[in-house]
Symmetry: C2
Subunit: 210 residues, 2 copies
DNA sequence: CTAATTTTTGACCGCATGGCCAGGATTCAA
DNA sequence: TTGAATCCTGGCCATGCGGTCAAAAATTAG
């Protein structure tokens, strides 16, 4: 692994086992974090759960920080890809917004461990600067996506006049906030009901007034 | 400190210094966590920030777990007291709901460190069971309060028919979700705008239809 | 003022962690 | 087949953690 830096320069070589192990370890980390909690998810524990020696992680990742970074990345990428696919299939802005909300909840319900792990992790970004970066890298793209939907809905005349940025933050916030409670106590929250409520609510809140 | 258990039995004696130190340490812990992040907030670091020896914390608290527990408690109690005072001053259900949302954001804006610390902490409840307890002890009372407001609004005919539990989770979620983004990046979120948006949105979403 | 009690200190312990590395196994290229 | 590159192992280490303790300091009571 001397070539880690050069890798980007090279094209094909540095892979297969490398990529496979990385994926395997990242997935193992997610499930370990979700089931045991971040504080208990030491490199030793993750390695044990994956079924490899501890050194393997050090070999494929620069350190625990990079592992966690990759975990967060995988979590966001996977989620956003699913949502985006659903959104793109919708014909107009109101239905795209609806698809965004529904897809978010559908993906949550089908991938609980991902969100349990995410909640565990996102508290542990120590410095304010780290939080900023986390937000900029992970959260902003989501909001941006939403903002685009909202803005085009205004252009097409489907939506009333509002600040797209603020409403995007509100939509994203509502989804994440419900998700958070659901992560804490699965049975206290009825995801489907909340999704439906949010859909009708944001429909009312965005549609052009009579 | 042999009398820790008897304390409840005694009446006045076991206090002043004891209580003062406890408050001091809890507050110090909050500010250390908020500024350095939970992972960096060791007992040594907290003690240093407070300006006392490490042993003092062990002397006044059973352990780090109890400290964190007290921190979370203080955070919730303080927040809820503020919100409840505002809500109680409102004359009818729609205005109580509005007061709930506005008070939440107002308190956030005035106590940023509290929420930064809270977000740091709430990810680190390891076991699923710990999360359940956290949710049950801290979150449920909030939702319960909200549910009461909503239910009485339905009884009085101000609100349309909906599931109070679901809508309470939705309101709470929307507030917390926006708060979360604001914790990550203060400048990316305009709290006042989001508050206003949420107020009008939930007004639209709850009012009895024509 | 003195004796008893509460509070504080700073050194200390055992432990788990993240990271490191020498050497062995495996895979790959020629 | 053989030599080189890659991949993996298991043990090692320094670090920092939470927690404990004897003794010193401060406070209180008599």
């Amino acid at each position: 692994m001397r070539s880690k830096i050069i890798q980007d320069g090279q094209k094909k070589k540095a892979s297969f086992i490398e990529e496979a192990r990385r994926r395997q370890i990242v997935e193992g980390a997610i499930s370990t974090i979700a089931s045991a909690g971040l504080p208990q998810a030491s490199l030793a524990r993750i390695a044990q759960d994956v079924g490899v020696s501890k050194g393997v992680i050090s070999y494929h990742f620069a350190g625990k920080d990079e592992l966690i970074q990759q975990v967060v990345n995988a979590l966001f990428v996977e989620t956003n890809r699913f949502i985006k696919a659903r959104v793109d299939r919708a014909p107009d802005a109101p239905r795209r917004l609806r698809a965004f909300i529904e897809a978010s909840f559908e993906f949550m319900a089908a991938n609980r461990a991902n969100f349990v792990a995410l909640v565990d992790i996102w508290g542990s970004f120590g410095s304010p600067e780290a939080k900023r970066r986390f937000n900029a890298d992970m959260y902003d793209p989501c909001r941006h996506h939403l903002e685009g939907i909202l803005r085009r809905g205004q252009d097409s005349g489907d939506f009333r006049d509002f600040s797209p940025g603020t409403l995007a933050a509100t939509v994203q916030g509502a989804i994440d906030g419900v998700m958070l409670q659901w992560v804490f106590d699965e049975e206290a929250i009825d995801l489907a009901d909340c999704a439906a409520e949010l859909v009708t609510m944001f429909d009312l809140a965005t549609r052009r007034r009579a």
